[in-house]
């Protein structure tokens, strides 16, 4: 993938507050089409907050600039961002009882594509993507995330990624809570999305997923900042050495 192409996603000097507390303290990112970035960091470093705030979570206050394919989307609502091709795979997908996976996805696809897809066509596409992810067709008739296992929820997030075909996707801890088989399936989904030119940021604190998905760029995230950026080898180094060696007096303890 070309690193010089115009980024599908970029953010500049992003700060995020939860109430009065500054959790993200100045982050810059630029992701090109088809490019996979990994943001790795210890628990509590603020990386999930960053992902949610970028998507527009109402509980967070964001400062800085967020752009999708060069368009400033900083102040747009989550649905407006989604309709412009942004996607967030949730760490903890939310249950909506009484709404089937199929009807939810049909509404989401119509919203994001801006047009209704005929039922038969939609159904065909849905079943094909579900097969890719080794999901039972009966899954489409279940209520959204209601009583789903951790692995089922994560598969559903990837199913949504493949159905909604965003330009840019944030994947928040999509690897957590998965057994090895599920992890492989999820990784295949991520690779399939990347091959269709989706730009992606994987937020994780394990290196595990990176055995199956090869990131182009790895960022180390600590205490609300990116403290180091490198290639895939950086992930392996983190696996071996942990995060402590990166901690510097300047970043420890916050601003």
């Amino acid at each position: 993938m070309s690193h010089s192409a115009k980024p599908v996603f970029s953010c500049t000097d992003v700060h995020v507050w939860i109430a009065e507390k500054e959790v993200v303290k100045g982050v810059d990112l630029a992701v090109s089409a088809g490019e996979i970035h990994a943001i790795m960091g210890p628990n509590g470093s603020g990386k999930s907050t960053l992902a949610n705030a970028l998507m527009g979570h109402p509980a967070y206050t964001l400062e800085g600039t967020v752009e999708l394919s060069g368009e400033d989307v900083t102040s747009l609502s989550p649905d407006e961002k989604a309709r412009r091709g942004m996607f967030l795979a949730f760490q903890y997908p939310v249950a909506v009882p009484g709404v089937t996976v199929a009807s939810f996805l049909r509404a989401a696809v119509a919203a994001v594509r801006g047009t209704e897809v005929p039922v038969r066509e939609f159904r065909k596409e849905l079943l094909a993507r579900m097969e890719d992810l080794e999901m039972d067709p009966a899954f489409a008739g279940r209520y959204l995330n209601d009583g789903f296992s951790g692995g089922e929820k994560k598969r559903l997030e990837i199913l949504q990624l493949l159905m909604l075909k965003p330009r840019f996707a944030l994947l928040d801890e999509t690897d957590s809570g998965l057994d090895i088989d599920a992890l492989k399936v999820v990784a295949e989904g991520i690779n399939a999305a990347a091959s269709q030119d989706v730009g992606m940021v994987l937020v994780t604190h394990y290196q595990r997923l990176l055995n199956y998905v090869r990131p182009h760029v790895v960022h180390v995230f600590m205490d609300g900042r990116i403290v180091r950026t490198g290639g895939p080898e950086l992930a392996l180094e983190l696996e071996e050495r942990g995060y402590d060696w990166l901690e510097t007096p300047a970043t420890a303890g916050g601003a």
């Binding site: 949610n52 998507m55 979570h57 649905d79 967030l88 939310v94 939810f104 989401a108 919203a111």
Partner: protein, 472 residues
Amino acid sequence: MASPRKVADIGTDYAQRYGFHDPEEYFLRSPKGLSHEVVEAISRLKKEPEWMREFRHKALDIFLAKPMPTWGDTQMLSEINFDEITYFVRATEKQGETWDEVPENIKRTFDRLGIPEAERKFLSGVSAQYESEVVYHSVKEELTKQGVIFLDMDSGLREHEAFVREYFATVIPAADNKFSALNSAVWSGGSFIYVPKNIEVTIPLQAYFRINAERMGQFERTLIIADEGSKVHYIEGCTAPVYSSNSLHSAVVELIAKRGARIRYTTIQNWSNNIYNLVTKRAVAWEDAVVEWVDGNLGSKLTMKYPAIFLKGERAHGEVLSIAFAGPGQHQDAGAKAVHLAPNTTSKITSKSISKGTGRATYRGLVKVRKGATGCKTSVQCDALLIGEAARTDTYPTMEIAEDQVRVEHEARISKLGDEQLFYLRSRGLTDDQARLMIVNGFIEPFVKELPMEYAVELNRLIELEMEGSVG
């Protein structure tokens, strides 16, 4: 009360679609207020037999003597001014037997409610009540051949007097409560249904009615008797126009399911914000009988309604599935009662409520098991969904279990339409309104899927209207 503000809450679309009303063209209406003279006039006008006339007068005395209920929303109840209500209005001189005979202005009302659709689909199964009289009522030939009686209550009394006399007020006596007494005194309209032994009525019998006169009470009376081994589904649905002063709706519905019979009674009521909807519904289920109340309550100022099933025969089964939607300023005080009087009887109560804005939903239920009614099973599930910080819900599940060998389950859940659910759906491209509607529709799905298609569509549309501009 600040009715105009509440009316505004419904949204202009609602007013446009459902708030229309025809100029009041009535052949007869009683003066406002309640007295023995009014009761006498109603009974005489209907040319009723002596026993019914007496029944009405006695019931009025009971009504006047009984105090207001001391539970429920006593504040709102105390605001009813019984002297300001019209107790009887006759819409047309006689009831039409075919669509052609129905007066034009009444047809227009039905047109806007989608009745012609029902007409096409359920051709003769429709009984529609307009005002206090049934104006359109055609019984499918097949029903008549099967020996099924499906009449408005007034005709039922005229044509099957002995039958009506045997069962009328046997399930809900006039003295049951203040509002059943009121209904007994001034009742008009409603349905009378008899299904003979082992007859299965395959089409749902429908009554579609609405209140149209300001400050007019509507006191319909329904009696359904399902003889041994028979099966019937009755549907009532209402949409009421928007008015500014208080109106009272107080129905009495009695169901009798004999040995092995099945009755399902489906209701969708959508009253305007000024209506007091105080309804007494009760069923008796004999040996191996099944009775199901499917009850949807939208709108009204105050609804107090607790469909009951008295399980009198062994292995009888009763179910109550209900939803209540309390919008701003409204109180839905609804629930269910299951009374187990025979061994091995079972009951299931599922109650779902939505409170929006300053809306308030109360679940008030009773499960009673008599000593000796061994092997009974009962389960009660209450789910409440709150939309907005001011929304309120309360649960009063009363259990009176006098027998040890029973299985009782009770579960109550309260959830808030939360930021996390909204954020999740919005991150998938759905607008705030779409996301809220999806969550609410999901919540009521277990109810909606029990409805015939056209009612499901209607209910979803009503919920959509209720949810408009519901931010906060």
